[in-house]
Structures are given as structure tokens and as C-alpha cells.
């Protein structure tokens, strides 16, 4: 069940502008250059609203950039395709199809597999993600975590070269999120499929990533890349290891610097707040 070792995406100075009704046009991406290493878990992190989802939509082919080139394994990118599949923030399972129908949709609609073959393949994938006894349930009957895993199964059955995950665990509460992270890691370590994982949580990024790409605030481009050489297979104990703390401190510096910019007027609020209270605290004693 291993994806091919390919899936190297090279992006060179990508630009994108949004025209919003009622507001002046917004430069979301400005000469953003990055490469997604094949067979690795590349995590993209940055403050909210810094253009991460726009980049994901462009890579998945749903949106076209104003300028800049993107190649996957050398050949230029054109339109959505099964080589790059996306798992969305809010679940995009079709509510009127059962989990099984959702998963076999891809292969059967492309005519690559007959219904019977697709069902067998789907059962194996569902076992991998632990949903074997939820095959005939409707998405509305599944919990948040299960819906995410079903969506993952729907993508993996098509053996994509690259998986793009747009903040998949955002809606879940923190504890389910941690369990989902461990679960996802096990699946990744089995399939080893090139992945671009987008998140705003720093702990999640370090815990999952082989490479962390930190994005600047608007206009978005890649600021720095941090390699995470924590041992594989990982479990949550790694969260208190020395190496983890080092990476966290380093990443935090960059992120807080970007975060301050992202706040815009919020930022000087944070500064004014701090010295305001210090002044108050001193004159109170």
C-alpha cells in the first residue's frame, strides 16, 4: 500500500491577488518559492489569514496563480488531478453517500476498478484508518475524528502522489486532536506518502513534521525551513524531549515575530498593554 516515492513539487515565485467586494484588492502570495520533499511530511505553518489555504488551493489545482511556475515531478501542473488530493478543513464527505460509497467513488468514477474490486480495496483502506465497522454509516453519524479518517481513506485509495491536508484537525477539541495526530502518524509511517500538512498549531507541526516551512504574514511567502530529525515512529512522549523543546523555542521566535506583524493594530495593542500594566503595577506598590 505504499505510494510511489515520487511527488516532488517545486514552486517558484508564486503571486496571487484577491479582489474582495467592498475592500481594496489584497496581495495574498508574493514570489513564494518552496519545494515539497517526496516521501516526507512537510508541514506549513503561519499565522491565520496568511495565505496558507490559497497556496493549498493553487497546488491542488482549484485556483490558478497570477504568476509563477509549479512543477510536479518535472512536469508543469494543470488543473485538479488524482496525483494531488486534498483533505479540507470542514469535512467534504458527501453526506448522502455512506462511508463505503464515498471511498469507492474515485476509482469507480474513473473506471479504473470495477465496483467489486473497489469494495475490496476500500475495506482494506478502511481497516488501515480503523473504520472497518463504520462502512455503511452516513457521515452525519460519525464523530469529527472519524469523519477526518474517512476523508483520508477516500483520498488514499487513489494512491495520490501528494496529499494536501488543510488544517484537518482544526475543528476537533484538543484531546481528540492529540489522539488523531498519533493515529495520522501511524498511517503516514505505513503509507509514507508525500504530504503537505497545513496547521496553525506549533506543537502539532513539530510533532508530525519531517520539515517545517514557516510562512510570513501577508503577503505570504516562505520565511524559513526547519528540519525536524526526531526519531520515527514517534509517540506523545517525544513532546517532553530535549530536542523537541529546542525546535519549539527556535520556531516560536520566528512565529511570534510573524504573529506580531499579523496582528497589525493588535500588535501594538499587545505592546501598549504590557508597558501600561507595568506602569500601573509599579505605582501600585
Amino acid at each position: 500500500m505504499r505510494c510511489e516515492k515520487s511527488g516532488r513539487i517545486e514552486v517558484s515565485n508564486l503571486c496571487k491577488r484577491f479582489h474582495k467586494a467592498g475592500k481594496d484588492p489584497l496581495q495574498v502570495l508574493q514570489n513564494c518559492t518552496l519545494t515539497i520533499e517526496p516521501g516526507k511530511l512537510n508541514v506549513l505553518i503561519g499565522p491565520s489569514g496568511c495565505g496558507k489555504s490559497t497556496l493549498a488551493n493553487i497546488l491542488a489545482g482549484y485556483d490558478s496563480p497570477d504568476s509563477g511556475e509549479i512543477t510536479i515531478d518535472g512536469s508543469p501542473l494543470k488543473g485538479p488531478g488524482t496525483d494531488r488530493l486534498m483533505v479540507f478543513q470542514e469535512t467534504a464527505l458527501w453526506p448522502w453517500m455512506t462511508v463505503m460509497e464515498n471511498v469507492i467513488f474515485g476509482p469507480t468514477v474513473r473506471g479504473e476498478m470495477s465496483k467489486k474490486e473497489a469494495r475490496e480495496e476500500a475495506t482494506r483502506i478502511l481497516e488501515l484508518v480503523g473504520l472497518q465497522d463504520f462502512k455503511d454509516k452516513y457521515p452525519a453519524q460519525l464523530s469529527g475524528g472519524m469523519q477526518r479518517r474517512a476523508e483520508l481513506a477516500r483520498a488514499l485509495i487513489n494512491r495520490p502522489k501528494v496529499m494536501i491536508m488543510d488544517e484537518p484537525f482544526r475543528g476537533l477539541d484538543d484531546l481528540t486532536r492529540e489522539l488523531m495526530q498519533e493515529y495520522y502518524l501511524k498511517i503516514f509511517e505505513k503509507t509514507n506518502c508525500t504530504t503537505l500538512f497545513i496547521t496553525t498549531e506549533l506543537e502539532e507541526a513539530i510533532f508530525l513534521a519531517d520539515r517545517i516551512l514557516i510562512m510570513t504574514f501577508l503577503p505570504g511567502r516562505i520565511k524559513t525551513i526547519i528540519d525536524v530529525d526526531l526519531p520515527r515512529p514517534r509517540n506523545y512522549h517525544v513532546l517532553t524531549s530535549k530536542k523537541y523543546l529546542q525546535i519549539k523555542a527556535e520556531a516560536l521566535e520566528y512565529l511570534i515575530e510573524e504573529g506580531r506583524k499579523c496582528f497589525g493594530e493588535d500588535c501594538n495593542i499587545a505592546n501598549t498593554m504590557v508597558d501600561e500594566f507595568r506602569r500601573q503595577a509599579d505605582n501600585r506598590h
Partner: protein, 311 residues
């Protein structure tokens, strides 16, 4: 093609152009280009010409069907040209055009009845809906009653209301009021139920008594639903007003249309229908405008507010 014919046409066309221009100006402001280039962009856009094509096709088919095509059913109907000429002529053959006093008398009667019943429905319906949403006990007593009476089609009340109420005018207004009342009440109730419980608890926390909560949370919170309800109730009011006028009234657009049929004045029928269409559209546009004004805090579009009761 005398002046009396051309002048109103010119007035209507310039009014349409004025709305088109204002809309283009707003669009231009958004995309930050000059109004002129925005107009040029729209004029060359495929969408604009498709809309024009849509109208041309419809009127063309109407004209062809009445005069050329073999369906005899259509031959009894008046053609578009006949209607327009009748509508704009100085002394219309069938007595109704924009120059005849009678035309405006009918319009005034209909609008008067619609407005009275709409206002009555709002004055009675909104508080009734708020009360039903706000106090559990009142809801328990009144909701089953409302649900029992609501399925009875309002127009079935016409014969009974003519008997019960003295004269025709109150009967027609009562029937129209009934429709609008149910729609307004149920949408207001829906509005109160849609308010997130956290707002009530937050107000309680801040020390608001139940009366203050009614003014500060219940009314503003359910305002969006109330306005959707008012828009629908205006549509429903016109809907049943026409029937009431056709059955019982001596004046009004409904009566005008029915009289047009019984006295074989066919173009008048079409004129009556088109006028009804415009006034109906105009009145709900007015409500939408007032709604937007009152609720400054809601930038989103008023429509599409989930389940609404449409009668």
C-alpha cells in the same frame, strides 16, 4: 406615435437607465475602476446580452404565438404590441391606460387594502410572535390554536368573512390580514427561537431583569427573521388580496382583471397583471430597504435565513 405615447416610454426607459447607472457606479467603486470603464465592461460582457436575449425571446414568442403560430389557443390572447399601445394611449379603446383616472383608482384601492392589512398583521403579528417565543406558557396555549387554524386556506375565509363583517371592504382586508398575520407571527417566533442561548445567559449575568432582556436581546436578536417574515407576508398579502377582490370587491386591480375578462377587455387583463407584478415587487423592495437600514450590524444579505414559512 404622438407625444403622449413617446413621453411615458421615455420616462420609464430613463428610470431603468438611472438604476443601471447607480448599480454600475457601486460596482466600479468595488473593483476600483472608473464607472465608464465598468459600464463598458458590462456592456461587452456575455451576461448582459444574455439577459436582454431572455426578454427578447419571451416577448418574441408571445408575439409570434398570437399572430403567426398555428395554436388557436393563443389567438384569443392580446399581443404584446396591443397591450403596450392600450396602456400608453391617450383615450384607450378599453378605457384603461396610464392617462385614465380609473386606472389609478383601482391601484389606490388595492394598495390601500394591502397596506392596511399588512400594517395590521405587523402590529398584531410581531408582538404575538415575540410573546409566543418569549413565554413558555403563552406558547403552550396559543401554538396549538395557530396550528389548527393555519392549514385552512385563507381564501376559504372569504365567504365567511363577507357574512361576518359588514360590507365588502372589511371582508377583503380581513382575509388579506389573516394570511399576513400567520406568516409574520410564525417568522417572528422562528426568530426568537433562533437566538443563541448564550446571549440570554450573558444578559442575565450582567444583571438584566427579564423585561430588559426582552428589549435588549429578544427584539434585536429576532429582527432579521422578522424582516424576512415581513417580506413574505407582503407577498402573501398581495396574493390573497387579488382573490378577495376578484370574488367580492367593486374596485381594485383584482376586480379590474376579472372585469376585463367578463367584459371581454383582454388587454386590460394583461395591464392589470403587469401592474400587480410591479407593485408587488416594489413593496417587498421597500421592506428590504427598511430592513437593511434598521439592522446596520448585519452586512450580510438579508435573504437565505434558513427555514421560513412561505404562504
Amino acid at each position: 406615435m404622438n407625444i403622449y405615447f413617446v413621453l411615458p416610454l421615455f420616462v420609464i426607459l430613463s428610470f431603468i437607465f438611472f438604476i443601471f447607472y447607480r448599480q454600475q457606479k457601486r460596482l466600479a467603486h468595488y473593483s476600483g475602476i472608473s464607472t465608464l470603464s465598468q459600464i463598458k465592461k458590462t456592456l461587452t460582457s456575455q451576461r448582459f446580452w444574455l439577459v436582454i436575449l431572455g426578454f427578447v425571446l419571451t416577448i418574441g414568442f408571445w408575439y409570434a404565438a398570437v399572430y403567426w403560430l398555428p395554436f388557436d389557443a393563443f389567438h384569443r390572447l392580446p399581443g404584446p404590441d396591443e397591450v403596450v399601445i392600450e396602456w400608453l394611449s391617450r383615450d384607450p379603446y378599453y378605457g384603461i391606460s396610464i392617462y385614465t383616472k380609473e386606472y389609478y383608482v383601482h391601484i389606490l384601492y388595492s394598495t390601500y387594502r394591502a397596506t392596511v392589512s399588512f400594517l395590521l398583521a405587523t402590529i398584531l403579528g410581531v408582538p404575538f410572535g415575540l410573546l409566543m417565543g418569549w413565554s413558555r406558557r403563552f406558547y403552550e396555549y396559543s401554538f396549538p390554536l395557530v396550528e389548527m387554524i393555519r392549514p385552512i386556506p385563507p381564501l376559504a375565509w372569504v365567504p365567511l368573512s363577507i357574512l361576518m363583517l359588514p360590507g365588502v371592504e372589511p371582508a377583503v382586508i380581513f382575509v388579506t390580514f389573516l394570511v399576513a398575520f400567520f406568516v409574520t407571527t410564525l417568522n417572528t417566533l422562528l426568530g426568537v427561537q433562533s437566538i443563541d442561548q448564550a446571549y440570554f445567559r450573558a444578559a442575565l449575568c450582567l444583571g438584566a431583569s427579564s423585561k430588559e432582556i426582552l428589549y435588549d436581546v429578544v427584539i434585536p436578536g429576532s429582527l432579521p427573521y422578522i424582516f424576512t417574515g415581513l417580506q413574505i407576508s407582503m407577498g402573501a398579502a398581495w396574493f390573497s388580496l387579488v382573490a378577495g377582490e376578484m370574488i367580492a370587491a367593486q374596485y381594485g386591480l383584482g376586480y379590474l382583471i376579472w372585469q376585463g375578462y367578463s367584459l371581454v377587455k383582454y388587454p386590460t387583463i394583461i395591464i392589470g397583471m403587469v401592474t400587480l407584478g410591479f407593485i408587488g415587487y416594489g413593496s417587498s423592495a421597500v421592506i428590504r430597504y427598511v430592513g437593511k437600514r434598521l439592522m446596520a450590524w448585519r452586512e450580510q444579505e438579508l435573504g437565505g435565513l434558513g427555514v421560513t414559512y412561505e404562504e
